[in-house]
Amino acid sequence: MAGDVSGGGRAITVDVWSDIMCPFCYMGDTLLAQAIERFPHASAVSVRHHSYQLMPELSRDRPVDLIDLLVEQRGYPRDRVESMHAGITERAESLGLDYRLDRAVTVNSRDAHRLSYFAATGGLQNEMVHRLFRAYFTDGLNIADHSALADMAAEIGLDRDEALEALKSGRHDDDVEADLRQARELGISGVPFFVLDGKYAVSGAQDADVFLKALDTAWGGD
């Protein structure tokens, strides 16, 4: 965790529960980052990513089209889904994010979460999570495909072979399970969900001003 001399060695930890396939999670992470940049004690803030699965029932091996899933399995009218996606894409664009929901490959995200933990061991969890978000929302990559995941790990500076071995061996599945259990204990029923210093919470992809105020509160709240 980073320290901050100006704050007398104080620090803030932000624990973030999110799913790689959650459109608001990528936005929320971006908005939190914007707030941290504006926070006077930015160097004292550390972010930890935790796993959450919105659709744990999905297969790792049989990708589905997101729009078809929402229409055929969730029962939403196609025009409404397309309108919703247009709105999400527009908001993402306002944050500088390029969403291509029409090419999203929807699969089980558990292995992507395990890769996030693998990256954490190398101090690159934040970079990994952002790469995974971009893979799903922009690149149309399959985030359950081990080869593709290993490629992404290599892109951010991790050892590809080690990442692949971790994925194939099931490593960090216990970490993912612990996150899911803790989310249940916390009463989290939707993501993104942010916990500051284990005391304050922000739910949803709120405006950066909300996150900045939360950081101020956490800084002065002890």
């Binding site: 624990d15 459109p23 608001f24 409404r80 916990v195 919470a201 992809a205 709120q206």
Partner: protein, 45 residues
Amino acid sequence: MTSTYETEEPQAPEAQAPEPSEAGPLILLNGDESVGMCDLEGECR
């Protein structure tokens, strides 16, 4: 915030802190407004 799926009223979480032995209930700083979230039903709002 762009409205997405229509859902029931958002719920205000009454959650426990990550380390219950060290902290009390979480204090939700954005009131009970839970826009910009996706839930287990696969709904995003």
